[in-house]
């Protein structure tokens, strides 16, 4: 079907990303999931092509593309490997983007080129053992000691944590100021006191090196503060608004993969003398899956389009992420069902899509949090 939001550039982009992913990532996607291995050999090839700086300015070595291009890229990568789509989405939208949006020109020079070219990988460190959805409940601290911040932090479930060099750490610079006392400092791997914890052993997205990142009396240079003190919440929300489009696109890609696999299987597998696709029960499932995926696509692209139009995107992004993640859950669940026993076996890809989809309803804002956002935006002033 023709797409209302996309132009020629987006078509060319989609074809090129798909071709690269099918050539380089698809042959190893199942294996890296099984082994929980981050495929450096492919990531290193993605850097010069612009995958790590999709929207970063060309002069920094990024690709300087728009939000729709970003959504399409993440969608196509995630269609082949949700874990790698996740890596790129987090790197681009919640690590690199906040530095571009809130950093000083000097900070741009310091961090952006290496991140945009994929020479370094970024991460977003907010969640703590006792602060998930309740982000304002973080207890990490940054004490002003003149020349540097003394940072103590215990950040968990950091996507890309096991390989990240440049980490945005959310800390309390003013313990008495509540949410307004939260700031963001950029900490670099290799700084004394910066410890990367063990990799998490997760149900899905297993090729992504999720780990804890702990800072023990870590001295972070004063000018590693992003923006001003007290801007942490603002930076976090802006980052997550952008991140939502990426994660929604990721969920969409996974759902599309599950749908494609199910269509292919339903056309080949025969039971009771006919292909599965001739049985109404299967037809009803495929119809629901196709409609869900298409609706999710329209919402994701619309949110990206609004961003490109420089319009407020909070509501659209929250809805897109909520819908796409829930759709991915339903579509991947039906995909396993359509495949029957084979859907439960690692010999087929659908069980990986099913496992990968599950977390999309949890991270970058749980579905419950997004419902709160949508309710608030919908009910206010009416």
């Amino acid at each position: 079907m023709a797409e209302p939001f996309l132009n020629e550039k987006h078509r060319v982009l989609r074809r090129s990303v798909r071709a690269f992913c099918e050539q380089e990532l698809a042959p190893i996607a199942a294996q890296i999931d099984q082994e929980a291995r981050f495929p450096w050999e492919v990531m290193e090839r993605m850097g010069p092509l612009g995958y790590f700086g999709i929207q970063a300015p060309l002069e920094f070595g990024g690709a300087g593309l728009d939000s729709l291009s970003y959504a399409i890229t993440i969608e196509e990568v995630s269609r082949v490997s949700g874990a790698i789509g996740l890596c790129l989405s987090v790197h681009n939208s919640v690590a690199l983007y906040p530095i571009l949006a809130f950093g000083s020109p000097e900070q741009h020079q310091r961090w952006v080129p290496a991140l945009a070219k994929g020479q370094k990988i970024g991460a977003f460190c907010l969640t703590e053992p006792n602060a998930g959805s309740d982000a304002a409940g973080i207890t990490a601290t940054a004490l002003d000691q003149g020349e540097h911040w003394l940072v103590n932090a215990n950040k968990v479930f950091v996507t890309n944590g096991g390989v990240a060099d440049t980490c945005l750490i959310f800390v309390r610079t003013d313990p008495d100021a509540g949410p307004r006392g939260i700031s963001v400092v950029v900490a670099e791997r290799g700084t004394p006191g910066f410890v990367v914890g063990d990799l998490e052993d997760l149900c899905g997205m297993r090729a992504n090196p999720v780990a804890s990142i702990r800072l023990y009396d870590c001295r972070i240079p004063k000018d590693n503060l992003l923006g001003k003190t007290g801007m942490g919440l603002k930076i976090g929300l802006a980052a997550l608004d952008t991140g939502r489009v990426g994660i929604a696109a990721q969920a969409l890609g996974i759902a599309q993969a599950a749908l494609d696999a199910s269509v292919s299987y339903a056309n080949q597998r025969r039971q009771f003398g006919v292909p599965l696709g001739r049985h109404q029960a299967i037809q009803m499932m495929i119809a629901d899956m196709a409609t869900q995926v298409d609706a999710a696509r329209m919402m994701v692209y619309r949110a990206a389009w609004l961003k490109d139009q420089k319009q407020p995107v909070t509501l659209a992004a929250a809805q897109a992420k909520l819908f796409a993640a829930e759709a991915a859950g339903q579509v991947t669940d039906l995909a396993v069902q359509i495949h029957g026993g084979y859907g439960y076996s690692k010999a087929y890809a659908v069980e990986r899509y099913f496992r990968d989809a599950r977390v999309t309803r949890i991270y970058e804002g749980t579905s419950e949090v997004h419902r709160m956002v949508v309710a608030r935006e919908t009910l206010q002033g009416k």
């Binding site: 023709a2 020629e8 550039k9 078509r11 060319v12 982009l13 074809r15 090129s16 990303v17 071709a19 690269f20 050539q23 380089e24 090839r45 010069p48 092509l49 612009g50 995958y51 999709i54 060309l58 070595g61 990024g62 690709a63 300087g64 593309l65 291009s69 890229t73």
Partner: protein
């Protein structure tokens, strides 16, 4: 040393459910056989210096393949497009390409893919070379400069041939000889920042409508009929060992095994 290489590429239809290939934005792509030709050109340019011009004749959607080619590293792009060109056969296509090549100017090497994924004739490369009256070698595997010309390697069966060909020369590139580089996001973005494609119609090439299209084509596809394959399915009986022996005997009898 600095060389100018022209690579002719084509936007091809991805699928043709009724046999007729219709190129639309949703159903077109860069001819997979052209990518190794592009790669060869880019490698020669990297080695010797110079420039690569990509040329395509086709409907407006062909702009997309020029975008990919420039994203890969081609320097200049030319699109020859005109309604009157529709339904041109390979000879007309070659004549049009020749007119465009002459307008582009001096070149040292003219490269093509071995064939297209939608028409599969393999004729345009050699026909264009013949009309230009320049030397042509098919399915080149390696190429290097050599005193006023090119040294080319190609293989036939168990033999490797080494050819010398004077410049300017034309060649089709063996699809397995050059592994095409991926099209990157940076390249695509740079193209669309300021698309720089020369667009020529028939008048720009001083060609008349009656020389091209269906009326100008000495060959035309008269009919298309889908081949029906009658497949027989036979279930072999007995224990697996017996079935295997039966199968081997049958395959040997048919010449599939020795």
């Amino acid at each position: 040393m600095s060389v100018h290489i022209i690579v002719c590429i084509k936007s091809v239809a991805k699928s043709a459910p009724r046999g007729v290939a219709r190129r639309t934005p949703e159903n077109s792509e860069l001819n997979p056989f052209d990518r190794p030709a592009l790669e060869a050109a880019l490698q020669i340019k990297a080695q010797l210096g110079g420039s690569v011009t990509v040329l395509t004749m086709g409907p407006p959607v062909s702009m997309e393949v020029l975008a990919e080619a420039q994203a890969m590293g081609a320097d200049k792009a030319v699109l020859v497009s005109d309604r009157a060109l529709a339904e041109s056969d390979t000879l007309v296509t070659s004549k049009v390409l020749v007119a465009a090549i002459k307008k582009i100017g001096r070149f040292d090497l003219l490269l093509f893919g071995t064939r297209t994924a939608d028409s599969d004739t393999g004729q345009v490369g050699p026909q264009t070379a013949a009309l230009l009256d320049i030397g042509f070698v098919s399915r080149i595997k390696e190429i290097d400069t050599k005193e006023g010309g090119w040294e080319i390697k190609r293989t036939i069966d168990a033999w490797e041939e080494r050819w010398h060909i004077d410049a300017p020369a034309a060649a089709t590139v063996d699809a397995r000889a050059f592994h095409p580089r991926p099209v990157g996001l940076v390249g695509i973005s740079q193209f669309y920042v300021q698309p720089d494609v020369a667009q020529w119609s028939l008048t720009d090439l001083q060609l008349m409508p009656q020389e091209v299209g269906l009326s100008g084509s000495p060959t035309r596809v008269a009919a298309l009929e889908k081949i029906k394959r009658n497949r027989k399915c036979e279930m072999l009986a007995g224990e697996p060992q017996a079935q295997v022996e039966n199968l081997i005997a049958r395959l040997t009898a048919r010449g599939a095994l020795e």
